[in-house]
Amino acid sequence: MARYDRVIPPGGRGEITLTIDTSRVRGEFEKKAVVWSDDRPGMSVELHLRGQVKPHVSFDPGGFISLWGTKGEAARGHVEIINEHETPLKVIGVDNDLPDRVTWRLEEVRPGFVYGLEVEDISEKAGDYTVHLTIRTDNPKKPRLTLTVRGEIKEK
């Protein structure tokens, strides 16, 4: 978004304020703005903004687990939940929207900063499914994280 002074007298000074909503930005970014004026030789001037946006909490290697296997053979997957802040993070709980398909186990790897989350298939029937595990935290800016688990379980 851009706010700017529209008419500046000779010898005058104006301002252009650019704002960026970082809720949908991750990692390094570069934004460009072009100022169009009635100064013919310099009718367009480019402005550049750069920066880096870190997540509050991240999954390593990512927010997705794939479980492939045969019924009765427990397929497993694992992610780490990483607190990117310098103050400790507490995981309050984990909600599972398909408890008859998967179970989970949480362990503290580095208390307050790194948690290990292991997910295991417990399906009693073959088939494909998608489970969402919602991790609840005490960080008010990131009270919930969602881990997606995709399962493909075949008959023996």
């Binding site: 000779p10 000074r13 970082t22």
Partner: protein, 75 residues
Amino acid sequence: MKRGNQIIAVTITSFVLSFLSYTASYSAREEGPAIHIEQTEHTFPTIFEGEELAHTFTFYNRGTADLHIRRVTHS
């Protein structure tokens, strides 16, 4: 004045008027607004997701007429 001299006088007058007109228009192009922005780049410190970032660029009109900012596009 003879007819030949008249033609020459008209030609010279026409040439002088064209030259004056060109000079006037060239001068006019040097007049007008002139935008000047000292800093066109800015790097923010690293921040966490969800925070709003804002930066204000300052610019000046170093010309002789009002400067109109028509629009600011961004990507």
